[in-house]
């Protein structure tokens, strides 16, 4: 098993599949009356969050606690970090406290890579800047596999602000590794340059959502921040929704079996309408539940739980 999980590219097909299979076992714990395993008893997991992210932090916290690890939540606000302590000094502090794993969320791309150079424990990237969010990609893959039965050969459309999306980058990497085909859809201003060469050669780019919908098994809508309008990425929320939002009529162009995903939090009415978000095709709530199982699997495997 790898030591850190910093990028979707850290996982080869066998390792990624092991994580998903382990997550499926972990999911059975959630159905028990006592939702706890002793696997990481005596181990310390630090949640180091430099950005507000209630859902991801809670998900990691629940995962670690269900494995009986000791959890320390270290949020940048109100801590020494807010007083200007450097990432390196924070790393050395966590090191001195004996953290076995550090789960880090940071606004700067690459911060988890830097952290991994300074601590002995495992580092899990819980989202860094506009770079990656590998456990989100794992839980998305897990959700697709449990709904559709496979990943190999699936056609996945990822729609929206790919340029600023760490979710998209990790998903492109992981889905390609697992044999799915990815088409990225959005206005040209929000598709980063050379994306296929940068991430996965088989990746397609399309600017026309309607043209792709009849051909996909999964459509994943990305959150689009309204502030992007100010930077002229698109003219207005209304125009964005009209061209790239997923509404009822568009959803009905999907094949019968296709599912709709969203990493949350949603902008209802912007990239997705309530009709779609609340439809049976939507996996949005399931994704949250699966997040805990997948993060349990990641922590379990990184901390050597499989060697016991």
């Amino acid at each position: 098993m790898i030591r850190h999980l910093l990028s979707g590219a850290d996982l080869d097909a066998a390792t990624a599949t092991l994580v998903l299979d382990t997550a499926a076992e972990m999911a059975t714990v959630a159905g028990r009356e006592v939702k706890k395993l002793p696997a990481l008893r005596g181990r310390t997991v630090v949640n180091l969050f430099y950005e507000d992210s209630t859902r991801t932090r809670i998900s990691f916290e629940a995962a670690a606690k269900r494995l009986s690890a000791d959890v320390i939540n270290f949020s940048a606000k109100g801590s020494s970090v807010a007083k200007g302590e450097s990432l390196k000094d924070t790393a050395l502090t966590l090191q001195a406290m004996g953290a076995d794993a550090v789960v880090v969320r940071h606004p700067a791309s690459g911060a988890p890579h830097r952290l991994a150079e300074w601590v002995d424990g495992s580092v899990v990237n819980a989202g860094d800047g506009t770079h990656e969010h590998p456990t989100q990609a794992l839980l998305d893959a897990y959700t697709m596999r449990s709904r559709l039965g496979r990943l190999d050969g699936l056609h996945v459309a990822i729609v929206g602000d790919v340029l600023h999306s760490r979710v998209a980058r990790s998903n492109v990497l992981l889905l390609s590794t697992l044999g799915a085909k990815v088409t990225l859809i959005g206005p040209p201003t929000l598709i980063p340059v050379d994306i296929a060469a940068a991430l996965a050669p088989g990746t397609d780019v399309c600017y026309d959502l309607d043209a792709v919908l009849p051909d996909v098994d999964v459509v994943m809508m990305l959150r689009v921040q309204r502030e992007r309008m100010g930077d002229s990425y698109f003219p207005s929320a209304r125009e964005y929704a009209r061209r790239y939002g997923l509404d009822g009529p568009r959803m009905r162009r999907l094949p019968e079996h296709a599912i709709v995903m969203h990493p949350g939090p949603m902008n209802r009415g912007m990239e997705i309408t309530p009709e779609v978000a609340d439809s049976p095709r939507s996996t949005i709530v399931e994704q949250v539940a699966n997040g805990v199982s997948v993060r349990m699997a990641v922590l379990y495997l990184l901390l050597g739980g499989n060697n016991r």
Partner: protein, 425 residues
């Protein structure tokens, strides 16, 4: 003053001969020279070059003496084979008045390791809003002739036009940091495949090329001299090639790191590789090397940019851009171009001295010229250890790389600043 007899030395790649230095000048060049009062320097196997001249150095004093001082930067320069450096204006306070440029000039004289020629800011506080007192800096003891807002682009086209025109009165030159700021807002590295993969905001090559294209047209329009700092893209090379073919009075520099390192270095997220302009692609490097060999790019300039440890040992986005360069520049030139001594002398000494108007520098050793020269051991190879550098900072991108060439000695007006590879003071 001591006399020095340098024996068995190849002058700019020529057949081995002897050089006699006396009273600050080269007294004689020829075989079998003798002088009883002279200290003999056995230079068998070494190459003498005119002392290198750097048109683009950040010495950080006044303001960031924790990162570099005029003295520590001068020592790094001498160890790199330099006898003159041009100190950039983005100090704190900014070198935008006669007082600050004279201070830097005086500190350089006191250090006495290289000639420190201050560069003046184009605009007050580098703010890009109104002209600094360019004439006062030109008339000061520092005798400023190069003006630059380096670190910032003079983006306002009307202000740039005025600056280019105004300095004609005293044969000044505007050295432009070519970067259209609206195209590089938030930029952390070169925009391309690697920035996409790393999720770091990219700055496109066109941000540099668009300003160079505008500026060569402005310089042509007003008949002024323009110097382009740290050219980094293949597209910029094409703009310069066309401008020069039309007869525009433009010169350009390239840094050692832009001749050697690509944006792939950012994959480590180690900000020691963060620099502005950013490291570009292999295709850009090939175009820059060709342009420098042909003379479309006139010179190598280091853009030596020392930064304190805490400004580099952090997240990429929070780190300051810039790299050390003085102590490794000649080695990079040798690595890239091999022992093409005439080319190296031209691009690293003669032409930069001419652009800066530094008489007495950039002249090949010959009887009657000032003894500003450096001795290079081309056969030596060395491993770059950051802790061993003379700079106060450690942000070299070449850490633990093995590079060719070593500076054995440097002479400034006949006095050694470096002997046996060590700084004399």
């Amino acid at each position: 003053m001591t006399a020095y007899l340098i024996t068995g030395v190849s002058v700019v790649g020529g057949e081995p001969t002897d050089l006699l230095i006396r009273d600050g000048m080269v007294a004689a060049v020829g075989d079998g020279l003798a002088a009883d009062d002279a200290t003999v320097v056995d230079a068998t196997g070494l190459v003498a070059l005119p002392g290198l001249v750097d048109l683009h150095t950040h010495l950080r004093e006044p303001g960031r003496e924790d990162a570099e001082t005029v003295e520590s930067g001068s020592r790094a320069a001498a160890l790199g084979g330099y006898t003159a450096v041009c100190a950039m204006a983005n100090t704190s306070p900014v070198a935008d008045t006669a007082g600050v440029v004279e201070q830097v000039w005086r500190l350089g004289r006191e250090a006495g390791l290289v000639d420190v020629q201050p560069i003046g800011a184009v605009t007050v506080g580098l703010a890009g809003e109104r002209l600094a007192e360019l004439g006062a800096m030109a008339d000061s003891a520092a005798g400023v002739r190069i003006f630059s807002d380096d670190g910032h682009c003079v983006a306002d086209p009307r202000l740039m036009r005025r600056a280019l025109e105004y300095v004609k009165a005293f044969d000044g030159v505007i050295a432009q940091h070519a970067e259209e700021p609206r195209l590089t807002e938030g930029a952390q590295m070169h925009e391309g495949e690697v920035s996409t993969r790393l999720g770091l905001t990219g700055g496109p090559a066109v941000a540099e090329e668009a300003i160079i294209a505008r500026d060569v047209l402005l310089a042509e329009h007003v008949g002024s001299r323009l110097h382009v700092c740290h050219v980094s893209t293949a597209g910029s090379v094409e703009v310069l090639r066309q401008a020069k073919a039309r007869g525009v009075r433009v010169t350009a520099e390239v840094t050692p790191h832009h001749l050697l390192l690509t944006d792939a270095k950012a994959e480590s997220y180690d900000p020691v590789f963060k620099v502005n302009p950013p490291l570009r692609t292999a295709a850009d490097i090939a175009a820059l090397r060709e342009a420098l060999a042909e003379g479309v790019i006139d010179i190598i300039a280091t853009d030596h940019a020392p930064h304190a440890v805490e400004d580099k040992e952090c997240e990429w986005a929070y780190a300051r851009p810039g790299m050390l360069g003085l102590e490794t520049a000649l080695s990079i030139a040798l690595d890239v171009f091999g022992p093409r001594w005439d080319l190296i002398a031209e691009r690293m000494s003669r032409t930069p001295a001419r652009i800066a108007g530094l008489t007495g520098h950039g002249v090949d050793p010959a009887p009657g010229v000032p003894a500003n020269l450096t001795l290079v051991d081309p056969a030596a190879r060395r491993v770059i250890e950051p802790a061993e550098l003379a700079s106060r900072s450690r942000n070299t991108p070449y850490a633990r790389m093995t590079l060719p060439g070593r500076i054995v000695a440097t002479f400034l007006r006949g006095e050694p600043t470096v002997l046996d590879g060590k700084a004399v003071k």
